[in-house]
Every structure is written in C-alpha cells, then in structure tokens.
C-alpha cells in the first residue's frame, strides 16, 4: 500500500505539494489526475525516492521512502514518463541488469524475463540493441523492467504515451490485472478516458492540493453532474468553468 501523510514539498517559494494526505490500499488502481504543474510528478518523485518531502512522510508497505529508499524501491516497480534505457545494451541485457540489481538469482531472472517477454510480446526484438527500438517498443520494455521483480506496488507516470492501440490494450489489461492480483497501482495521467475506464478511484491534484478524492460516481455526485464524462468534471473542478461544447473546436 501507498501512504502520503500530510506531505509538503516546496521548490524555493513555490509549494508544489501541499499537505497531501492519501492512502492507496492493496488491490486498488488509483489514477492521479491534475493539470500541468499540479504536483503529480513531484508526488511520484517523492514516492520513488528521487525527492524528499519537506514535511510529512511517504510510505510504501509501511516503509518510509526517505529513510529507507532502497528497501522501499525493492517493493516498487516504476515506469517514468521519460524512460531511460542504455542504448548500447539489448533489451535482455537491461532486464538482466535490473534483475541482478533487485537481488534475483540468475535462474529466477531468466524465468521472469521469459514471462515478461511473453506478456509484452518482446521476443521479436529482445536481443536487439535498444537504440533501434521504436517508442512503443521502449515503453513495453520499461514496463517489463518495472514488473520483473514482482513488485507489491506499481507506479506509472503517463503509461499510454507512444503506445499503439494493441499495446495500449495490453497495458490497460495489465494494470487492471495487477490491481486484481492484490497489488497497489498508482497511475498518473492526462488521459482522462483511461482513468475513467480502468481506475478504481481518482484523485485530482490542483496547485499542489488534493481537490478531489474518490470514485467517479462520487465526483459526479459532488458536482451534481450525474451523466457527465470525466473530462467535463475535471475541467469544472480544475478551472471552475468547463468549456462550452461550441468552444472546444476552433473555427
């Protein structure tokens, strides 16, 4: 499970995340939404050990991510928005490196690589250098790396960027399957339709504060808009004024 306990994070004088209190239990797929600069990436960077909160705590399965970042990252799989891959290694070599660094023995690493290769259909290019991969192939490999060590928690920042419809379907099914298998999935995205389709709960961050936390039905209830799509609700909540339909298409 993931816990943000009254987390505050500033960049100089700017408050990026302000008293964020959020608990995501096991078996839940949580979508973190928000406009650009809302604090989503800052929150995720604190979770994966790339930033420290100014105050409050971020915990993964009870482990403080600032005090024991190694132990916390052992339990997490992370798919960043900008993937880093060693260009001069093949996909298999990168997976072997990741397995070794997660403490897996060789046989286990080999088995897990075979499993992920099948799941993400990597077999056709797994032994090619990653410098020859397309964006979609890279994204699938990054997912495989994140899941190689069977993490308890999966953190995904913008999962659908660059994926073709088939790969996107695979990822959606995978995220749901991981949550249903009892894992915690935190997904940050601008693709509102994706959140609407697969998330158990959503949180909307705006100016560093959690403006809404709950299910889509609860959001509709809160905004008294029972039949509106998430896009409309999101714009209403973050801007106060959703665009009228006529203004959506430029003349």
């Amino acid at each position: 499970m993931i816990e943000f306990e009254l987390v505050i994070r500033r960049y100089g004088r700017t408050v990026a995340v302000n008293e964020l209190a959020l608990t995501i239990p096991r078996g839940e797929l949580f979508a973190l939404l928000g406009p650009n600069g809302a604090g989503k990436t800052t929150a995720i960077r604190m979770l994966v050990g790339l930033l420290q909160p100014d105050s409050g705590q971020v915990r993964v399965c009870g482990i403080d991510c600032s005090r024991k970042p190694r132990e916390a990252s052992r339990l997490m799989g992370y798919v960043p928005d900008e993937q880093y891959l060693y260009e001069k290694l093949s996909g298999r070599e990168i997976l072997e490196f990741a397995g070794e660094m997660h403490g897996l023995d060789r046989a286990t690493t080999r088995d897990h690589i075979a499993r992920e290769a099948e799941r993400f259909e990597l077999a056709g290019f797994l032994d090619n250098l990653t410098e020859t991969y397309s964006h979609g192939m890279r994204q699938r490999l990054v997912f495989a790396i994140a899941l190689l060590h069977d993490p308890q928690v999966l953190v995904v920042d913008e999962p659908m960027v660059g994926l073709d419809p088939r790969s996107a379907r695979v990822v959606k099914d995978l995220l749901r399957a991981e949550a249903e298998a009892g894992k915690t999935v935190l997904m940050s995205t601008h693709t509102l339709a994706l959140a609407e389709e697969i998330a158990d709960r959503i949180g909307i961050l705006n100016h560093g504060q959690l403006d809404f936390l709950g299910t889509l039905a609860e959001l509709r209830q809160e905004l008294s808009s029972p039949h509106q799509a998430l896009e409309h609700l999101f714009l209403e909540l973050t801007n106060g004024h959703p665009l009228p339909a006529a203004e959506k298409i430029p003349s």
């Binding site: 500033r10 420290q52 190694r70 132990e71």
Partner: protein, 584 residues
C-alpha cells in the same frame, strides 16, 4: 499506519552490485567496440594512426628538450630542474583535475537521466557514485595520459632508465589521477549537501581562489629575475621559486619522486612511492565512496528540490550591438550566430575552464619581458615568441574540440524546431563557422599581440603572427564545424562527452597537425630569417640565405593552401552529410 506483512525480499549484496555494474560496463564497451570495428574501421584506424603520430611528435619534441638541458646544465642542477619541472607539471594537473572531476561529476551525478533511473532501484548510493566516478576519472584524465606519457618516456630515454621505470609509470599515473578526482568528488558532495542554495556562489569562490593561488604562484615564479635567461644561475633561481610545488606532503611530489627514483635505478624507492600513491588513491576513492553512501542521495534531493530560480533574460546591449555589427550577413546566418553567442554566454560552467586557461596565458605573457631577462638582443626572443604562438594555437585547438565540434551534435537535438524554419541547412553550418572564428580570433589575436609587444619583436614579425593567427582561427573553425557535422553524436547531451568521443579525438588530432603544418611552413622560416639577421650563426647555419627565402615563399603559399583546404574540405564534407542527415 498499516505495516505490510511481507518483508522486503533480500537486497543484493555489495559484491553483486559491483558485479552488475562491471558487467554493464563491459557489455557497453564490447558493443561500442564491435560497432566501431564493424562500421567504422577506417575511422578507428585513422584516429589510432594519427594519435600515434601525435604521440611520437610530442615525444621527439620533449626528448630534444631533455637532451638540451642535459647538455647545457651540470648533472646535479639538471636533476633538480627535471624534478622541479615534473613537480610543477603534476601540481598544475592536480589542481585542474580536482576542478574538472568536480564539474564532470556535478553533471553526471546530479543532472543525468541515468542516475535518476538508478536511484529508483535498490542500489547502494556508493555504487552509483563509484560507477559515475570511474567515468569522471576517465573523462578528465585521458588527455593527461596522452600528453604526459611522451614526456615521461622521453625522460626515461634520456636518463637511460631501467625497465621497471616504464612498468611503474602507468600504475603511478593512474593512482595519482584518483587522488585529485577523489578530493574533487568529496568537495562537490560536501558543497551540494551543506550549501545547496549557495552552490553557485561557492563555485565562483572556488574559481576565484584557484585563480588567486595560480596568480600568486606565477607571480612568485616570474617576478624580478636577477640573472640572464637559461644560464645555470637562472635555473637555480627558478628552482628556488618552484619550491612551492616541491612540498613533500603533496601527491605531485610523490609521483615525481617515485618516477625519478625508478629512473635512477632505485627500484625499492620507486616501488615505495608507487605503493604510497596506490594507498592514497584507494583511500580517497573509499573516502569519497563513504561520503557518497552518507550524503549523495540527500545532496541529490537538495539539488533536485531547490531547482533554479526563474531567470528573466532579454536582448542586452551586447546582442543589439552584435546584430548591428553583423548586418552584412544574411538574416538567417546572423540570427543563428546571435543565438549561438547567447547560448554560449549563458552557460558559464562550460566556458569557465577555458577562461582560466586564457587568464593564465595572459599573466604569463604579461610577465615575459625581454629587458628583465636580458634577451632583447638575443635570438632567444624569436624562440620565445614562436613558442608562445604555438601554445596559443594549441589552446585554440582544445577550444574548438571542446566547444565547436559538439555544436552541430547539440543543435541536432533541437532540429525539430530549426528544421521546420525556412532556413537552408548550409546557413546553420556557416553561422557556426563564423561564430567559431569570432570566438577564436579575439582572444587568439590579443594574446599573440600581447606576447609580441612584451617581447618587442620586429613589426614585420608581428604582422606575420597576426596573419598566422587568422589562418589558424579559420582553419580550426572549418575543421571543428565540418567534422562536427560529419561525425555528429546525436544521442549525447553533454558537450564534454561528445568532445571525448571518437570525433572529438579526431578533431583534436587533425587540428594539432594543421597547427604544426602552418607553423612549420610559414612561421618557422620567418623566425629563422629574423634570427639569422640578428645572429647569422644562430640556426640553420648550414643553409644558405636563398634556401631560407625559398622556404619562406613556398611555405607561405603552402600554408595559405593548407588554410583554404582546412576550411573548405571539412565544411564541404560536413555540409554534404548535414544536408542528408535525418533528425528525429
């Protein structure tokens, strides 16, 4: 708070992490070598051959110098002078390596996307640090090994050193390099951890302090000489002034002493210094690793968390003046040129090291006064001014390798923007060429003018030197931009890494050959001509005056041709590649 019932599975041992990184490095190296030999055999062969030629050229030059000293000076003074030269050389290197390893580590440990990836994995911080530290050591010291080894081998030859002198040389150099690199890393981590918000000020303060110390050293070295140049008494006086570099607690003293002991058939003393250097290298490497284990992640958090304050920029008086001065150029070339000047100006981390070198040369030239050294009537003034011109040329070649060669590669990353503008691709390269010529010509011309003025050389020779500097600036710029376009490194974001790669090395080697060619063809006969007028028996006494005149005429024409080829040929090759290049 709910505590998870599943404890974390065993984390990898330090040995496993070390093995993992070693395997990673080995696999990357293997792929790079295999790709290089499969696709670029000619390129690699060319670089290897040219590097060997450069190495032997330097070796021969230094060998002559050592022979000259050995023949001129009494044995005892000769040994002391060699010790002092080694001490000074290694001390300068020691200080520069502290600074350069710190700068490289700052980029790779705190701003690289690889470390952001590694920090999200359960890897010990000290191993991430060591992984990047080895890279920084290699990047900051390859030039030292390439340029320092000919000097040490030449000394070994002159001193008739035994085999173990040569065997100890490389381990001693490698061990020595780790000491300043470790100190630089510790200083960097401490500054970023304890004063993250003042890091800019502290960096500036460090630079000022280093310049201050260097000014003081040079001042004490070159001020008020009381004896004639290059006489035994002058050497002894210089020896006293080099005392600072000969402090026994300094690693440069250990290195020079170890090498000289080994060269003097004292293998046990040589081995003792080797062990001392290795022990200290390991100590500083471990100390830096311990520091990293405790504070690296926190320092990373501090740096990532503080961010950069928003900086408002606007077209200042300099940009407006530049725009007006370049009115004769086509608008596209002018705009790209002004953009490049802006980018260069706003990135002080990149050009500060170059500025330090120029300042050092300025101080040195300002202090070389012929009256002080009683060399006004001596042809030595010719040699000193010739050497000064050569040094400035070589400095400019490092500038083009470090800054001009990576320009096209760095531009390629933004080609999505530039490529969509109604610009001819050729104008981008010509703009970069002009930018480079402008950046080189001003410091190069001024430095040489200062040197010539202080030395009081004849006006004709001053004009010749200015002409040569123009030729060098044009040729070096052509080589830098042309090769940069022919051999771009599109995937790399760091200019220092681009410069340290294959193309950068080739650029440095070709630039050095070009400088040597121009100097030998035209400047050397000029100097010989004027030196013979002062003292007919000075140099090339066996050659007739018509020979010197012919050399001068043919050489001048040859150097003009070489200059034109150095501009046109690489630019033509570069433009052809750049027109066809596909950017993503």
């Amino acid at each position: 708070m709910t505590v998870d019932t599943n404890p974390p599975v065993g984390l990898p041992s330090p040995e496993a992490e070390s093995r993992g990184f070693l395997r990673l490095e080995w696999r990357i190296l293997r792929t790079q070598l295999a790709q290089g030999f499969a696709k670029s055999r000619l390129r690699y062969a060319l670089v290897i051959v040219l590097s060997i030629l450069l190495w032997f050229g330097l070796f021969h030059l230094v060998l002559e110098g050592f022979h000259f000293m050995k023949g001129t000076l009494p044995l005892r003074i000769h040994e002391q002078i060699v010790h002092a030269i080694f001490n000074m050389f290694f001390l300068a290197l020691f200080l520069m390596l502290i600074f350069s390893s710190g700068v490289i580590l700052y980029g790779s440990l705190f701003h690289g996307s690889e470390v952001a990836y590694l920090l999200t994995m359960p890897i010990r911080e000290e191993w991430i640090f060591q992984h990047k530290f080895q890279h920084a050591v290699m990047l900051s010291s390859w030039g030292f090994v390439l340029l320092g080894s000919p000097m040490l081998v030449a000394y070994g030859v002159v001193a008739h050193a035994p085999w173990y002198y040569y065997a100890m040389m490389l381990p001693m150099l490698v061990a020595f390099v780790f000491i300043p690199a470790g100190i630089g890393a510790i200083l960097l981590l401490a500054i970023l951890h304890f004063f993250p918000r003042k890091r800019g000020h502290l960096l500036a303060l460090t630079v000022v302090l280093m310049i201050g110390v260097t000014v003081w050293c040079f001042g004490s070295l070159f001020s008020r000489p009381e004896t004639d140049l290059l006489t035994p008494r002058w050497f002894q006086e210089m020896l006293c002034r080099l005392q600072l570099a000969q402090e026994k607690p300094l690693p440069n003293w250990w290195l020079s002493s170890g090498l000289l002991e080994a060269a003097g058939n004292a293998w046990s003393e040589g081995a003792m210094f080797l062990v001392l250097l290795i022990a200290n290298a390991l100590f500083f490497r471990e100390l830096a690793g311990m520091f990293a284990a405790r504070i690296y992640r926190r320092a990373y958090w501090e740096v990532a968390g503080f961010g950069s304050p928003p900086t408002r920029v606007h077209a200042g008086w300099f940009d407006r003046m530049l725009n007006r001065c370049l009115g004769f150029l086509s608008p596209s070339v002018r705009l790209i040129l002004v953009k490049d000047v802006r980018l260069f100006r706003r990135d002080p981390l990149q050009w500060s090291q170059f500025l330090i070198l120029i300042c050092l040369l300025l101080m040195y030239f300002a202090n070389v006064h012929p009256v002080r050294y009683s060399i006004r009537v001596s042809p030595w003034v010719n040699i000193v001014s010739f050497m000064n011109l050569s040094v400035v040329g070589l400095l400019m070649s490092t500038f083009t390798t470090r800054f001009v060669f990576p320009l096209v590669s760095l531009e390629s990353r933004h080609f999505g923007l530039l490529g969509l503008l109604p610009l001819k691709r050729d104008s981008i390269l010509w703009a970069k060429f002009l930018f480079s010529v402008g950046c080189l010509l001003i410091p190069c011309g001024l430095l040489i003018l200062l040197s010539d003025w202080r030395l009081g050389i004849p006006p004709m020779l001053i004009v010749q030197h200015q002409g040569t500097s123009l030729l060098l600036c044009l040729g070096l710029s052509g080589i830098g931009v042309g090769l940069g376009a022919r051999l771009p490194v599109i995937t790399e974001q760091s200019p220092s890494r681009i410069a340290a790669g294959f193309g950068g090395t080739l650029n440095l080697v070709i630039s050095t050959f070009f400088i040597v060619l121009v100097l030998v063809l035209t400047t050397l006969p000029c100097h010989v001509y004027f030196a013979r007028q002062m003292e007919p028996t000075f140099a090339f006494s066996g050659e007739s005056a018509p020979f010197i005149r012919s050399w001068l005429i043919v050489g001048s024409l040859g150097s003009l041709l070489a200059g034109a080829l150095a501009v046109l040929l690489p630019m033509w090759v570069g433009i052809r590649t750049f027109r066809r290049q596909e950017f993503h």
